[in-house]
């Protein structure tokens, strides 16, 4: 479980996160939702150690992440897998080399063992036989799937996805959502997804945190969204005519 306590983060005069507290649960898909500029990405980047919060605490189980120094954080990050918005695959490396990179760094496995693990991860994301392709040869959806394969290569305890469906068609988005859900449940990973895709919210949102102007505005499950009377949440979730009809 990940526990965030009273996180505050500002960039000069702009307060991106104001006193945010939340919990993200194991084997659940935890979603952070909100408008653009609401602080979703800042919170996610605080969780993965790219931004350092100005105040507040982040706990991973019994480990206080915010108290670790940079070397300790670097070691701790081997337990994390991160899927970035654009995939962030290394252009000069093939699919196989991309997935193998964390294995090269942090395991003492031989070449065959690493290849087995790469192939297993590719199989998990339904991308077998794409080892020799380069990122430039992949579609947006394939890049995201390879990014997921790379993120799970070291068998992480925590998986973070920043807008995994951005730029994808609805069908591919559903495939990616289901994939993340399967991996989360199968490997009992604590997954945190940053999204503003309402389909994802309704499909896989076990635990949802709604941010508004840097503050936590609402927290609950996807079932509770439909019955919530929180005005900001309703304005955001049911902005379209279709969603209003669904409600």
């Amino acid at each position: 479980m990940i526990k965030v306590q009273n996180i505050h983060k500002a960039f000069d005069a702009n307060e991106a996160l104001i006193d945010v507290s939340a919990e993200f649960y194991e084997a659940k898909t935890n979603l952070i939702i909100g408008r653009s500029g609401s602080g979703k990405t800042v919170l996610l980047k605080c969780l993965i150690g790219i931004f350092e919060p100005d105040s507040g605490e982040i706990w991973y189980g019994n480990d206080l992440f915010t108290a670790l120094d940079s070397d300790q954080q670097r070691n701790f990050k081997q337990q994390m897998g991160v899927v970035f918005q654009g995939g962030a695959l290394f252009d000069s490396l093939s699919v196989e080399q991309n997935i193998r990179l964390p294995l090269d760094f942090f395991t003492s496995w031989n070449r065959e063992q690493k290849l087995d693990r790469v192939n297993f991860c590719l199989q998990m994301v339904h991308m077998t036989d794409s080892n020799r392709l380069f990122p430039a040869e992949l579609s947006g959806g394939m890049k995201k799937r390879v990014a997921i394969a790379r993120a799970i290569a070291l068998n992480p305890k925590y998986l973070f996805c920043d807008e995994p469906n951005s730029g994808l068609d609805p069908q591919t988005s559903i495939v990616i959502d289901k994939l993340i859900r399967e991996i989360t449940v199968e490997f009992k990973i604590t997954t945190v997804i940053n999204t503003h895709d309402m389909n994802s919210v309704m499909e896989i949102g076990d635990n949802i945190l709604f941010l508004e102007a840097g503050r936590k505005c609402w927290e609950g499950s996807r079932e509770e969204i439909l019955t919530s009377d929180n005005k900001e949440l309703n304005d955001f979730v049911f902005a379209s005519e279709l969603m209003k009809k669904i409600k």
Partner: protein, 246 residues
Amino acid sequence: MGILNSLGRYLVFLRHIFSKPEKHSIYFRQIFREIDKLGVSSLGIVAIISFFIGMVVIIHMTANLGNPLIPTYYNSYTARDVLVLEFSSTVLCLILAGKVGSNISSEIGTMRVTEQIDALETMGINSAAYLVQPKIIGMMLTTPILVILSIFIGLIGGWVVSVAGHLMTSADYIHGIRYEYDSFKVVYTLIKSVVFAFLITSISAYFGYYTKGGALEVGRSSTLAVVYSMIMILVANYVITQIMLG
């Protein structure tokens, strides 16, 4: 204040670059890749430029030292010193700052804006060390070799134009380039080239690594990397020359 901030950040960046590698074997492999990518790929342009500069220098020397009281072999003797002392180290490294510096800065800058550096960091990899350390070591190993080649090719260029243009005899030319040979001058130019290689790679990587924004900023970082690398090469050239020859 801005300059002090940048200098401080550059020094912190260097500390990250030279921190202990997570796995030596990976870094070792990367060094060979960088030697090929940054050094070997520069051979062509180094050869072409050096050959033509060698030809032009000897023409200048012949035109300006053309005096019956000065032996003709002085032309090639002077041309040799021009190539050894300044052209093949300083001018060549200024050219490499343009070619290699912009390459490094744009490559790392693009990795920054496409979150590839963040991806490395979240894997627990020291991105500065992994991306930059092999480049610095690769360039510091390769540049002195390029400088030696440049001197050699420049002298061949001079010989070609001397003989083909009837500026002097082949024997005079060879006598000139061997006349009062001082190996310390070669040591001096090699030391300079190692320092310049370090400056080119570290400064260019610094500008790429701290790029913020998108494609426009990557281009801007690349330009700044080349400009600052060139300025620092010229400053370092003066300092080293003052210390070693002054």
